[in-house]
């Protein structure tokens, strides 16, 4: 028998449902948090890989005319303040792109591909797109300017909102777990009020009594949340295998995988510690009143 356990909390009816609820909440909570990590990583990949903000499309005329026009456009862009990088997308890459969209047997002879020039802005100077467009139209009225930033911003906002929402949900789940702990502790205090009274009559400090509850809650919380986290980890592995089988393994970078493992290992400790703190606060508050 544990000498420190002066209260019979182990067989507490009031607290019997707590481990199950905590395990469930940690299961959902860790998965939710890992999802925010995933979104953050995706956002990062997104921001580092898709740097092209503008594309200029030059329709194909005769080969010579096109390359001369291309040359002029590139020169003009290179002179434009605020432009960091100008890259002409190789024709081969364009063809590959179209084949992948339309299938291998698409006839590109019938569908003349435009030349595409990708433009990366340095972000320091505010480039006036309309002004740029009118200058380009002066070079040739057939030039098309496509501003990717609008939809890129949409996607980035969407990802950030997703991260934010998932974090909020994680926090809500954690608060629910802590609220459950607090309610269970309050019931437990009522059940054991006579024992608590005896303890305080023989000189037990509030802190001593709170410690009794804390130790019990920590043990219970650690076991329950370890189970929840372990099942969440199995779910995560399942999703990973599924993604790999469907050819989406690039979505799980090794750094994301490593961070997720850390979340699964640390969340039981974090949860148990938070529950312990909640228990202490609940007991101290109840004893003070």
């Amino acid at each position: 028998m544990n000498k420190r356990q002066d209260l019979p909390l182990k067989n507490d009816v009031a607290a019997r449902f707590v481990p199950k609820i905590v395990a469930l909440m940690v299961y959902v909570g860790t998965l939710c948090f890992v999802f925010t990590l995933f979104m953050t990583h995706t956002a990062h990949i997104w921001e580092t890989q898709f740097t092209t903000q503008l594309s200029i499309e030059i329709p194909t005329f005769s080969d010579n005319a096109s390359s001369a026009l291309q040359e002029r456009v590139v020169q003009f862009l290179n002179r434009t303040p605020g432009v960091q990088r100008v890259i002409t997308v190789p024709q081969k890459e364009m063809e590959n792109l179209f084949y992948s969209l339309l299938g291998e047997d698409a006839n590109l002879e019938l569908l003349p591909l435009p030349a595409v020039i990708d433009v990366t802005l340095d972000g320091k100077e505010n480039v006036d797109i309309q002004n740029l467009e009118s200058h380009l139209k002066n070079i040739s009225p057939y030039l098309q300017i496509v501003d990717h930033r609008v939809w890129q911003n949409h996607v980035t906002n969407l990802i950030h909102t997703g991260v934010f929402l998932a974090l909020i949900i994680t926090l809500l789940i954690l608060s629910a777990a802590l609220a459950t702990t607090t309610f269970a502790i309050r019931t437990s205090l009522l059940i054991h009020r006579q024992i608590i009274e005896v303890l305080s009559l023989i000189g037990a400090t509030h802190s001593y009594i709170a410690t009794q509850f804390q130790i019990n809650v920590f043990k219970q919380g650690l076991i329950a949340s370890s189970i929840g986290s372990f099942i969440a980890f199995l779910t995560f592995l399942g999703i990973k295998i599924l993604l790999e089988k469907s050819g989406f393994s690039f979505m799980m970078s090794s750094s994301f995988f490593f961070q997720s493992i850390c979340v699964f290992i640390l969340s039981p400790f974090f949860t148990a510690l938070s529950m312990m703190l909640a228990a202490r606060l609940a007991v101290m508050k109840a004893l003070r009143s």
């Binding site: 028998m1 000498k3 009559l201 023989i202 000189g203 509030h206």
Partner: protein, 232 residues
């Protein structure tokens, strides 16, 4: 007499339970260090209530109690346990913890004070042996008789050698021989410096031990000084 010689000082203390009669009408008394008192009075006169006030389990409705030099009306929740740690209480209704073994019940005050040790544990065993409970160390209170529970409660109250011992009918459930033995135990404790207040009805004890008697009568406290007796 200086304040530092005082364990407790009651000045004009009165009490009335919300639902009940006025039980004290302005009691004034000093409990000195190392003194020994019996507390007597008819059933329902307020012996337990007075002891309860002394271990800060009951607030006086008016008047003032000073305990170990502290004004009990101003005691904070952090000071309260420290004052109680100087007091050992034998409750009339024992108040043992049923889920703890006898030995753990008795060592509870040591644990609460953070002074539990191997030596302390041995001390607990010796004490339980001495009061005839050497065979019940591992028993749980519900399996004990009334007299056995009472002795466990006494052991728990004195294990820390408190500065003040409050015993509410500590011999109510034991035979006369055991009652005498327990009284000798309290005397020993008193010789080591503990102030002792024992609420009792037991005439034999009152006759045999010549200590001062505090008698509650119609809400007042009468003090009979220590008798001079020739020991046989």
């Amino acid at each position: 007499m200086t304040v530092s010689d005082m364990i407790a000082r009651l000045v004009g203390v009165g009490h009335k339970y919300e639902t009940g009669p006025e039980i004290f009408k302005g009691i004034t008394v000093d409990i000195e260090k190392g003194s020994f008192h019996f507390l007597t009075g008819p059933s329902g006169s307020g012996k337990s209530s007075l002891l309860r006030m002394l271990y800060l389990g009951l607030k006086p409705t008016w008047g003032n109690i000073q305990l170990f030099g502290e004004d009990t009306l101003k005691v904070t929740s952090s000071l309260l346990p420290l004052l109680r740690q100087k007091i050992g209480v034998v409750f009339q209704e024992f108040k043992l913890l049923d889920h703890l073994r006898v030995i753990d019940n008795v060592s509870l005050p040591l644990r609460v004070r953070g002074i539990e040790s191997k030596r302390g544990q041995k001390h607990v065993q010796e004490l339980l042996d001495w009061i005839g409970l050497g065979d019940c160390l591992k028993a749980y209170p519900p399996s004990l008789s009334g007299g056995q529970k009472q002795r466990v409660s006494i052991a728990r109250a004195i294990i820390t050698r408190p500065q003040l011992l409050l015993a509410d009918e500590p011999t109510g459930n034991v035979d006369d021989d055991m009652a005498m033995k327990l009284l000798y135990l309290f005397e020993e404790l008193n010789k080591m410096g503990t102030a002792v207040i024992i609420a009792t009805h037991n005439q034999r004890i009152l006759e045999k031990f010549p200590y001062s008697q505090l008698t509650i009568k119609e809400g007042s406290l009468l003090k009979l000084p220590m008798r001079k007796v020739a020991y046989e």
